[in-house]
Symmetry: C2
Subunit: 228 residues, 2 copies
Amino acid sequence: MSETDQVPPKSLKQLAYETLKEKIVSCEILPGTLLTEDSLCDMLKASRTPVRDAISRLEQEHLVSIKPKKGIRVNRVSMNNIQELFAVRVMFAPYIVRNYGNRIRDEVYTRFIQQFKRTDCTKEELFQLDNEFHQTFVDASGNRYIASVYEMIKDQVVRYRILSTAGNRLDTTQTEHHAIATRCLCGDWDAAAEAMRVHIENSKLAIINYVIDTNRNAHNVFIEEEEE
Amino acid sequence: MSETDQVPPKSLKQLAYETLKEKIVSCEILPGTLLTEDSLCDMLKASRTPVRDAISRLEQEHLVSIKPKKGIRVNRVSMNNIQELFAVRVMFAPYIVRNYGNRIRDEVYTRFIQQFKRTDCTKEELFQLDNEFHQTFVDASGNRYIASVYEMIKDQVVRYRILSTAGNRLDTTQTEHHAIATRCLCGDWDAAAEAMRVHIENSKLAIINYVIDTNRNAHNVFIEEEEE
DNA sequence: CATTATAATGATGTATACATCACTTGTCAA
DNA sequence: TTGACAAGTGATGTATACATCATTATAATG
């Protein structure tokens, strides 16, 4: 009885939250979609109570907006939103590298560096490696508020990455990550933080350029002004 | 019909959220208290649905923890929590001064400076002035994610201020705010950001010193380790 | 007297019924 | 044909009934 059912049976509200969030950031549900609670109950195989709980959390993360008596709007992406999101990332990422990078063991950095040199990774593997790298610094902080902030912006960034399919930017990402990790290994935290800032700024520019290139063809997804 | 009933009739869930949060950060409900949904329904004069919604939001802000099948724990304050909270403030406050201070009109700064010179303010007035000053920079950013971060940490700080009653620190706060505003008025944003950083660090030290002085007498409120 | 098993209690998790409000559509009149 | 009013539809807001699980107390047995 010790290890048979050690799996914590996730509550429906947690499951609904994760499932719905996944569908939104993966753009299976497109930005701008107007949902109803009933359709979500059907989609998530749960009743309104856990679904409403999930919606409430996603609204706090600015992924959806609850329009009273109308429905649940999956927030559109916009140039404005990109600016806001990356303003937080620029504040955030260099700070945690600068302040908590020294809590990470050298072996972790060397392992990352080896991974960043690989050229035979699939796109999915690179995505995951990217997430792990950034998450490492968040975990090193051991700070629940920092973790919350990262949780709020992380998945939005994932959504933009999926929308922009930036295949050719992945190599650059590897190079920039490599630069950050090597400076951490040297203990040059100012340089590491600066490298992280540059990395975030470049990432922002890549996404903005993509939006500029494609917003003619996808006005229903990329929109400048929020409605209502 | 234009300005008669412009008051948006607040939903019960919004009302429940604000009321409960107010009771927690004002320490009318002491840290460490274990609540039940039923008692909250009674207290907030609402049914479980809006109450659960409020609890869910407060859990995301780390003000309460939902203990399945046990109750709702009002999170205790701890030295660890203070460190985490102020780590975010130190990252946050100087950044927005540095980046968005120039969006605030000179008149706003001069008005604040006049207020900071006053010596006839009540404690409540000083509290409010303090909040307004910091909120001004958040609003200047026009960034919803920054606003969310500030919303998450702001009220926690209020709670510590109420617990520590730091009467003698209020004068120092006025002086430090004055220093920040004058540097903003000069357009010396690096100096303004540095003044803000010093201000936050001092604020943190004042609270930590208070906790060290009093944690013997209030072990039920100040506790180092989280339970369970 | 101690220990274990069982039943009762009380908490949240979940589902659903009812209330309220906004919007749309259809009909009637000018 | 157009406009206004009313009824119907469908959405969330709210309340409550039921399910599940953990804890505790009590009783029975060694």
